[in-house]
């Protein structure tokens, strides 16, 4: 099926190049039998890359830089060039985004339902899934589901999964002291094994007969974590749990991911020192125990305080799926709104944007491909009609791997909402001072004089 499709595309391209050739040029094909022709067409397909460009937009690279009225060129789904006066190959598919803004596609550190299907995304994904369209409409181009990182490649199943295993979940909470002890023992055993293994690596150079230390009884997850092959994913909100995780991480030398992290702001420095990642929901509410003397409970300043202490903060919404129940502003379609609440609590705009792009990309092990717009990275971007963090901004187009996968005008969901200028809630000032006021103003002026 796939090869057939390619052949047909190739045929189309072949024709184009035929017509564009000068008459004197030697014919592309001499009399060859069908099979040879097919081969040749397939070859020409390999030779002609797919070009895609967004032009005329304010390009926000996701690292804090903005190029106004610039262009971005991608070749075969990878960013080739960002800048001005780019020379676009003739066959480039051009998206004119003049007057719009371009951002790297958002990365959802957790999601549910966007890809449909079950745990094995590759074989079960539904790339026509409505939730995927709605997530693209929300600016998301990469998301985690069932512990896999995948792209919102609409209508395609190939190349969708980017990382088949993003993290290992580790239970470590005070409500289960026995489980905690077990975890600790696992890390201790894994660490001892690693020491023995390193020693063996040295010794075996001298004595080739030496046996490799036995792996039996060593917890594979703990070992993978210590070898930095997988990120350990904790889920904790309470202060003492957070502290214990930080200590465990420091003791064994790994970087923990802590989802929830509700009281993280009270121990931000400790988490920062432990090199923790925090996955927070800024609007999360947790009552402070009434008889607590120290600080506790949730705080709108959580993300800001964690970030200030050096914790890498990723933001996830209260609901990780798409919700069409009518209550709006709390699901994954409002990831930027959730990030807005972190800004409300003092996080910088840039850090908040990173918390829904490059930081989750790092957590999912795909930061080398997505999360920012840089040459060599995947051409996954969104084009918006305004500041992506503003509550009235809409995604007009979403692009994944250099292919347009969402066009607001083509989908029923939001097509009826016309692009609007960035609005101000009360654009016109209506100053209509009454007589008395005028007098008072005169008085003020006089006194000022």
């Amino acid at each position: 099926m796939r090869s057939k499709w390619i052949r047909q595309t190739a045929l189309g391209l072949g024709l184009v190049s035929l017509f564009s050739l000068p008459v004197t040029a030697q014919p592309l094909y001499t009399s060859v039998d069908d099979d040879d022709e097919e081969e040749e067409e397939a070859d020409s397909e390999e030779d002609s890359p797919e070009w895609f460009a967004v032009v005329g937009a304010d390009i926000h690279d996701g690292r804090g830089g903005v190029l106004r009225g610039a262009s971005l060129l991608a070749k075969d789904g990878k960013i080739e060039e960002i800048g001005y006066d780019l020379v676009l190959p003739e066959e480039t598919e051009v998206l004119d985004a003049s007057g719009y803004r371009v951002y790297p596609g958002l990365v959802a550190v957790k999601s549910s339902g966007l890809f449909g299907g079950s745990t094995d995304l590759e074989d079960s994904v539904d790339p026509f899934n409505q939730d995927m369209v709605l997530a693209l409409a929300a600016g998301i181009t990469t998301a985690e589901q069932s512990n896999q990182a995948a792209k919102l490649k609409r209508g395609e199943i190939e190349g969708l999964v980017m990382n088949p295993k993003t993290s290992s979940s580790i239970s470590f909470r005070s409500s289960d002291p026995k489980g905690k002890r077990t975890q600790r023992e696992r890390f201790a055993a894994a660490a001892a094994y690693l020491r023995a293994y390193r020693q063996w690596e040295e010794d075996v150079k001298k004595d080739k007969e030496l046996k490799e230390p036995s792996k039996s009884g060593i917890d594979s997850t703990a070992l993978a974590v210590l070898r930095a092959e997988v990120l350990p994913w904790f889920s904790a909100d309470e202060r003492h749990d957070l502290l214990e995780i930080a200590r465990l991480a420091q003791e064994y030398g790994f970087r923990p991911v802590i989802e929830g992290c509700g009281e993280g702001w009270t121990v931000a420095d400790e988490l920062g020192r432990a090199g923790a990642y925090a996955v927070v929901t800024p609007r999360y509410r947790r009552a402070r125990s009434e008889n607590l003397v120290r600080a506790g409970g949730s705080s709108i300043e959580n993300a800001a305080k964690l970030h200030a202490a050096g914790v890498q903060v990723a933001i996830q919404p209260a609901s990780t799926g798409v919700s069409l129940g009518g209550i709006v502003g709390r699901d994954i379609m409002h990831l930027t709104i959730e990030a807005g609440f972190a800004i409300r609590g003092g996080l910088s705009e840039q850090a908040a944007f990173e918390a829904i792009t490059i930081v989750p990309a790092r957590l999912l092990g795909v930061a080398h491909r997505v999360g920012t717009l840089e040459v060599g990275k995947d051409c996954d971007l969104v084009v918006t009609d305004g500041d992506i963090m503003h509550y009235q901004t809409f995604v007009q187009w979403a692009v994944v791997d250099g292919k347009e996968v969402y066009d607001k005008a083509d989908e029923l969901f939001f097509a009826h909402i016309r692009p609007r200028p960035e609005s101000s809630i009360a654009p016109e000032s209506k100053v209509d001072p009454g007589e008395e006021v005028v007098e008072e103003i005169e008085e003020v002026k006089e006194s000022a004089d």
Partner: protein, 429 residues
């Protein structure tokens, strides 16, 4: 038209001795109708159809008919068309299937031939019926039945292999495994052959040696003579017998069996194509047209392949809206071949099939495509397209007689001819 008047004249000699033959008995008979839906060659006005020995031997417009051949003149307004064919039914069958892979299973062993439903279906205008095995996974092979007044008989078994594919690793693996097992068998077989060949070689050599020995040593001549006899018997290679399930997939590969794959949505089509990979075999699709189905996402791809698609004549709704979609029409326009089956797999569902097909025609499906979807395409799907499904010379005279246009509300099936014989209803003379 593909008609030469000589056909009728030529057959006259055969026909005459029978004289004024009754409507039954297999003798030649001419049907004259104000309109005939040939399916293969469009609608004929003032149609004349000659039937001999259960086979259509001539068909055309306004053909002259020599005296002596019994003529059945259909009442004005009546239409004759090929019998309806449902390729995908479990009517008169019961039992639940499993969800594993058992391609060697056969629906034909499940049949309950004396079930009343078969007669009811015949009266509703169905002359051929495909029955599939129950269950998901790869439930087995369907059978094609001739419906008849004395109960059904097998027309072709197996007719096709039913496969249910859903978006899951296990389901996709099931299909891949089927072909992989063929590869494994072929490999094993090739090795076996090689081994045999080598043994033959060895035998030849040792025989040569024996012969040489013979020259040297002429003792025990009798014994040697016997050996010689044994050796001279040409050894015949007996291939390894593949397991029955492997045989089914071999038949898919060699084209003697086709598959009908059931999917539920657009994504499953992609997964199916992914699971098939480079494998080449004939396959069609069964897609239940559920209310909000998103099949339109892949109609172009389906059409491009010219796939046969089994659907109910139902309008669907564009997901999330009240906007009706005529996916049958979209599929046909894209190049797919439709097979219509009743919305409900019951007797009354079969009785409503024409009416429901008419709705789809009214909603934009090309009339010819709808007629094919009721007759010729299902016949092709069942592997019976050579002999039935249209009014053409050489095809079985399985015909139905309607008292009006097939897509007119209120039109009824008034009579059914099977194999050249009227089996239900009557034609007023």
């Amino acid at each position: 038209m593909h008609f030469s008047p000589w056909t009728i004249l030529g057959s006259l000699a055969l026909a005459l001795p029978a004289g004024a033959a009754p409507l039954t008995g297999g003798g030649p008979v001419v049907l004259r109708a104000s309109s005939a839906e040939t399916v293969a060659n469009g609608t004929l006005e003032h149609a004349v159809i000659l039937v001999e020995d259960g086979v259509i031997t001539a068909v055309g417009e306004d053909l002259p008919v020599e005296r002596g051949i019994p003529i059945i003149d259909l009442p004005p307004g009546w239409v004759v068309m090929p019998g309806l064919i449902n390729p995908y039914s479990r009517v008169a069958m019961d039992g639940k299937g499993k969800s594993d892979s058992r391609p060697q299973a056969q629906a034909s062993v499940e049949l309950y031939a004396s079930h009343d439903d078969y007669q009811d279906l015949l009266e509703a205008g169905f002359t051929t019926l495909g029955q599939y095995p129950a269950g998901t996974g790869i439930p087995g092979q369907a059978v094609a039945l001739n419906l008849g007044p004395d109960g059904p008989s097998v027309a072709l078994d197996p007719a096709y292999l039913k496969i249910v594919l859903n978006a899951s690793s296990s389901s996709k693996r099931m299909l891949r495994d089927g072909f992989e097992e063929v590869d494994e068998y072929l490999e094993k077989e090739a090795k076996n052959r090689e081994k045999w060949d080598k043994e033959q070689e060895k035998k030849k050599k040792s025989k040569k040696k024996d012969d040489d020995d013979e020259k040297d040593d002429k003792k025990d001549d009798d014994e040697k003579e016997e050996d010689k006899k044994k050796d001279s018997e040409p050894d015949v290679y007996v291939p390894l017998v593949p397991d029955p399930e492997v045989q089914v997939f071999m038949h898919l590969r060699d084209g003697t069996l086709s598959a009908l794959v059931s999917i539920d949505n657009a994504a499953e089509y992609l997964h199916l194509v992914d699971a098939i990979g480079e494998e080449e075999f004939a396959w069609g699709l069964r897609v239940p047209l559920t209310r909000d189905i998103n099949l339109y996402e892949v109609t172009d791809k389906i059409g491009e392949r010219g796939l046969r698609v089994v659907v109910e004549p139902s309008l669907t709704l564009h997901p999330g809206t009240m906007r009706q979609r005529n996916l049958s029409s979209e599929l046909a326009r894209a190049g797919a071949k439709l097979c219509f089956i009743p919305r409900f797999d019951s007797v009354s569902g079969h009785e409503d099939l024409l009416l429901h097909a008419a709705e789809i025609v009214a909603a934009g499906l090309e009339r010819g495509a709808a007629l094919r979807a009721l007759t010729l395409e299902p016949a092709e799907l069942l592997g019976l397209g050579e002999g039935r499904g249209s009014i053409e010379e050489g095809k079985r005279a399985d015909l139905i007689f309607l008292d009006g246009d097939p897509f007119e509300v209120g039109t009824k099936v008034r009579a059914v001819m099977l194999d050249g014989e009227f089996v239900t209803g009557e034609v007023p003379q």
